[in-house]
Symmetry: C2
Amino acid sequence: MANKELEEGTELLIDFAKRGGLIPAVVQDVADGRILMVAYVNELALEASLSKRMATFWSTSRNALWTKGETSGDFLKIVEVLLDCDQDAIIYRVIPQGGGSCHTKDPETGKTRETCFYRKIDLESKKLQMV
Amino acid sequence: MANKELEEGTELLIDFAKRGGLIPAVVQDVADGRILMVAYVNELALEASLSKRMATFWSTSRNALWTKGETSGDFLKIVEVLLDCDQDAIIYRVIPQGGGSCHTKDPETGKTRETCFYRKIDLESKKLQMV
């Protein structure tokens, strides 16, 4: 496939097969730009996301279509879907519908964490710190 | 490995082997929260990023360590590195040092694009549109 078509064209040409069936999907909160989670989509999951307008992924652990919020109620409503130059990564820009996006809970508050990225790597010690 | 240790601990326990050697690295501009690119890191690339403080990846096409900006001058200076709950995705929060982050150029201005995510998927037509 010509790079120009891939990079400058108006056609959705994601080559899932070339990527082992999956590409990463980054979920970003439209309100504040925070990155909430990173998961994977296959063609089916992307298709479901575009039609349902709720962030849907392919669960690599369960090998199943996974609409975030199905069990927790914490749906991620899709506002827009961005695609990168090489058409091998996407961003779901979302409005969270529930209390959080992560499957973990803050031990202090007992609440579901809003983002999966609640820790940073200290650049000196390489230990993890809460953000 | 216990989930608690992985999710709540202070030790960096990324299991690269379990992930085929690579995990996705999302690059985010600290100034405005924009997502600039998504690439992959192996253990070597993450190590290099933490020590050089410049976003470094593993190029899956060239099978080589790749410090963004080496050839273009468009280095991405690392401010912080975030890690997710499962320790299988990272965010480089950066200050771009050059003109852009993408390898493509805007045909109108001839300038390197600031982000790889310059298109969105129209939710109705599924055609791509410039953001």
